[in-house]
């Protein structure tokens, strides 16, 4: 297939504004009459609120209003309505909002917030998921069962379990009996902070009792609209949510975070926009966290490496409110096998209330946690079987015709993981491994991955295409540009479909729920697939309209006409051509009448056939798309310090069709470095009072320039996906998934030490390698 506009590294549509400092983020917006909010936050992980005295704060200079959760009857949530906008009768994590001050300046609000006196009665707390799972654990939500929730979530009365997802295939007990080799291990993936560079921000202004405008740094303006509508029982059409540029999301700005709170408090000062921008500390303590899993996995195989049975249990510390994490829990169950076929599976995923900030989506959505287990276990099992890990993987890969754990048959068009593994092996193993020396061990590791986007069965994306009189086009989508490059990719897809140069397309830069097409939310790496297909449908409809108009004007049958972008030509009459742009506003004939309709069309797409998981097996057609790939790492480990240096990271991913090579590489490298951070650096920690120990950049370290490996390999395989635009599929989260197990497998190769926890702590590793000498076992 020949392409003119995709498979090219066109410059980003947003680059100019961003590099000039002119791109607007929510914190850059100033509105007339705007007031500023600051939040007083709980210093207790779990406590009853006895009293709140706001009298002193109320009389401070510039203070317009002090709002608490007293008398608040609202609980919100997209799937489980378990969260109040401000704590009502008790706090469930340190950092939870207890009161809000609205003042004329941010400083005034901050000063006044310090004058609020809150009396607490501390309660026992729990931050660890396994502790929270115990029968005698402190119960964080007494009303667990009473919350309003959408179908498909299974809480357990009298416990902290707000969702138990169970998936079964075959007969696991029999499977283990039939197995000749069994491996069983426990793993820990800590809570992480997304550390988007732009802190969460939101402005809300109530124009009447049932009408509100919201400007938010969110990946999900239509979810914000829905939830705000439910909270106040107002028409969704009266809610205007606008999203300017987003300074990074990674899932931590999806569903909702601070928007319900800002909508709630701003209602007390109608007609004033109220702005809340989180501090960096609040981003850590009071927005969303990601991951946080303790799990066990047991796999059984035949001596020849044939995988037979898998039993896994994943326990998620999902924080004070379960709504944001409930689907992550389910998604991890879909992929607990890793990219391999097992005849028998028994998978339990538990979402647990804990006294940490709420935990939600984070690049990979349950997949990195599941793959840490599956890909480490493949490494261990291979050694036990006396095979290479690659050979074991190849023997069991899910591929064309094989059935995954949820019962879906994988198609060729889902991608070729064999080729991905070959590319990673080639990148990693072509040169010989450096010889162990007095200072370092050297090792190499690989890990596979598969990823599916989690979504509602009817989650859709829309697109609007409008031709201008000069033959240029305005294209609107509601995919949020948060750095991933969706504006540029969508521009290229629209240009390819309309057979014109990308320069003639102007993609919408801001999203406004009252003007922009519907978009469920920008999550699951799905914009290319879903919004891309919506654009294709809108473009097809525009082309059809164009042909119909020309047919009427030229008195030719539609079937005789060929659309060629700027011109429409005839198949039978070589001399006929018609300039497309003359149709933009409908055609004005020389004798002065209008013909046809203006070229303005819409398109929509949702992945057909996706259903909620079946009640008993947890399976069925619950996954809408699959992407496969492999990652690898080469490391050296210091014999003196246990320090791990990553020398080379590699990824090969079957992305179906490359849209923008430079943009795609940027996603791959950025994602691998996020995986690097998780493997070696990042971990949210709590002290003995349940208060976060490291809510800042100085203590929660993220990768910097010096951490990039000397070598980065990125390989793209293009097995077209018949459901994707020009064959393209989802790719953005994927590189973050399997770098941690690849690095741990490489550390094993180097030192002989099997690790089951991240981040790797040099001191622990040093101790396990037997200190400063050759500790290879």
């Amino acid at each position: 297939m020949e392409f003119n506009q995709i498979r090219k590294s066109l410059p980003r549509t947003d680059a100019l504004e961003k590099v000039k400092g002119k791109a607007t983020y929510v914190g850059d917006i100033k509105l007339p009459g705007m007031l500023y909010a600051k939040i007083l936050r709980s210093e207790y992980a779990h406590a009853k609120i006895i009293s709140i005295d706001t009298s002193e704060a109320e009389i401070m200079t510039g203070v317009r209003k002090v709002v608490t959760g007293k008398d608040c009857k609202i609980l919100f949530g997209a799937c489980i309505k378990d969260q109040p906008p401000l704590a009502i009768d008790k706090v469930r994590h340190a950092g939870e909002g207890v009161a809000a001050v609205i003042a004329e300046t941010e400083r005034q609000a901050e000063d006044a917030a310090k004058k609020i006196k809150v009396e607490y009665d501390p309660l026992p707390f729990v931050t660890d998921p396994l502790e929270a799972f115990k029968e005698d654990a402190p119960i964080i939500h007494d009303q667990n069962l009473e919350y309003c929730r959408v179908p498909g979530f299974n809480p357990k009365e009298g416990t902290n379990i707000f969702h138990h997802y169970k998936q079964t295939k075959g007969d696991t007990e029999k499977g283990f009996k039939d197995s000749e080799v069994i491996v069983e291990e426990e793993f820990y993936y800590p809570l992480l902070s997304h550390v988007q560079m732009e802190p969460h921000g939101c402005i809300a202004c109530w124009d009447s009792e049932n009408s509100v405008r919201i400007w938010a740094g969110t990946q999900a303006p239509f979810i914000v609209r829905e939830i705000v509508g439910q909270m106040f029982e107002i028409p969704l059409s009266n809610i205007k949510v606008q999203v300017p540029y987003l300074g990074g999301g990674f899932g931590g700005k999806s569903d909702v975070s601070i928007e319900p709170m800002v909508a709630y408090i701003s209602r007390f000062v109608p007609h004033h926009p109220v702005r809340l921008i989180l501090t960096r500390k609040e981003v850590f303590t009071s927005s969303l966290l990601g991951r946080g899993m303790k799990g066990t996995i047991k796999v059984g195989a035949k001596k020849d490496g044939q995988l037979v049975a898998l039993k896994a249990a994943l326990y998620y510390s999902d924080g004070a409110y379960g709504d944001t994490g409930c689907n992550v829990v389910t998604a991890s169950g879909f992929v607990a096998t890793g990219p391999y076929e097992y005849e028998h599976c028994d998978i339990d995923c538990y979402g647990l209330y804990t006294n940490t900030p709420p935990v939600g989506a984070y690049r990979g959505y349950g997949h990195p946690e599941a793959h840490l287990m599956s890909e480490r276990v493949m490494n261990i099992l291979a050694r036990k079987l006396g095979m290479t890990q690659a050979a074991l993987m190849k023997k069991n890969f899910l591929c064309d015709g094989k059935t995954n754990a949820v019962g879906q048959v994988i198609r060729k068009g889902n991608g070729d993981i064999y080729q991905c593994l070959d590319e990673v092996e080639k990148a990693l193993f072509t040169s010989s491994k450096p010889q162990e020396n007095d200072d370092y061990y050297y090792g190499r590791g690989i890990a596979g991955f598969m990823k599916t986007p989690m979504m509602l069965p009817n989650a859709s994306s829309g697109a609007i295409i409008k031709m201008c009189e000069d033959g240029t086009y305005n294209v609107s989508i509601s995919g949020i540009e948060m750095g991933q490059g969706c504006q540029t990719a969508m521009t290229q897809i629209a240009a390819e479909a309309l057979k014109i140069s990308a320069e003639k397309i102007r993609i919408s830069k801001e999203v406004d729920t009252q003007f922009s097409p519907y978009e469920w939310q920008t999550v699951g790496s799905i914009t290319t697939l879903r919004a891309g297909n919506a654009i294709l449908q809108a473009a097809d409809r525009a082309i059809q309209k164009i042909k119909e108009s020309v047919a009427m004007i030229a008195h030719k049958p539609v079937e005789d006409l060929k659309y060629e972008g700027e011109w429409v030509r005839s198949k039978s009459d070589k001399n006929f051509e018609f300039e497309t742009k003359l149709l933009a506003l409908s055609y004005l004939s020389p004798d002065g009448h209008g013909v046809g309709e203006p070229i303005e069309t819409t398109g929509h797409y949702y992945i057909p056939g996706v259903k909620f998981p079946a009640p008993v097996t947890g399976g069925g057609d619950c996954c809408g798309s699959w992407t496969f790939g492999c990652e690898g790492a080469e490391v050296k480990v210091s014999k003196k310090t246990g320090e791990v240096t990553v020398l080379h990271m590699a990824i090969a991913i079957d992305l179906g069709r490359l849209i923008n090579p430079m943009g795609a590489r940027g996603q791959m490298v950025g994602g691998m470095m996020m995986g690097y951070g998780a493997a070696l650096m990042e971990e949210v920690l709590f002290n003995d009072k349940g208060i976060m120990k490291n809510p800042n950049y100085n203590k929660y370290k993220v990768p910097k320039l010096s951490h990039i490996p000397e070598k980065l390999t990125v390989k793209f395989i293009e097995t077209p996906d018949e459901t994707g635009p020009f064959g393209a599929r989802c790719i953005a989260e994927h590189p973050a998934i399997s770098i941690p197990p690849a690095i741990l497998n490489a550390i094993q190769d180097a030192t002989g030490v099997d690790l089951f926890e991240i981040p790797v702590k040099p001191k622990d590793l040093l101790a396990k390698t037997g200190g400063n000498h050759n500790g290879k076992n």
Binding site: A15, Y25, V669
Partner: protein, 161 residues
């Protein structure tokens, strides 16, 4: 809170302001002068997003207090190129694919501006030292490094045509 009178020049324009003693240069730029290209990401000098050039040196504007910016000449991302033009460092960031969410971009550009202005032939180690003071969560730094090297080349070519 004590008030202080300060004078400073920002992007060639002189300003006389009465500020709070705690009011940082970042707040002056963003809230008073509406130069929002300077980004607030941590407000304690750890991430580099708010970097501007003050008297030819890269500073983290979120921790610069009035006594430090009084009587100083400040350049922000809005001041390094005229009108529709781009500075070669800005061109390099676009061409190298170094921009994703864009929130850290102005800080990186301003740090490199200060570096190359004082030392056009900075070594790779010197460039790395400067970039190490910044956090980018999107790109994984590969293309930022490429942009820095490309910018240096563009500036060198410009000074020795």
């Amino acid at each position: 809170m004590a008030k202080i009178n300060v004078k400073l020049t920002v992007n060639g324009i002189q300003h006389e302001l009465t500020v709070d003693e705690k009011e940082t240069l970042m707040e002056i730029l963003r809230d008073r002068l509406h130069l929002t290209g300077t980004k607030n990401a941590c407000a304690y000098g750890a991430c580099g997003a708010c970097t501007v050039v003050m008297n030819n040196e890269a500073v983290r504007s979120c921790i610069v207090k009035p006594d430090k910016y009084n009587e100083k000449v400040v350049l922000t991302i809005e001041g390094i190129s005229e009108g529709f033009d781009l500075h070669p460092i800005q061109e390099a960031f676009i061409e190298a694919g170094a921009i994703q969410c864009g929130y850290c971009t102005p800080g990186f550009v301003m740090s490199l501006y200060a570096l190359f202005n004082s030392n056009l032939n900075a070594t790779d180690e010197e460039i790395k030292e400067v970039l190490e003071k910044h956090i980018c969560r999107c790109t994984g730094y590969e293309f930022i490094w490429d942009a820095a090297k490309l910018a240096q080349k563009k500036l060198q070519d410009k000074s020795n045509p």
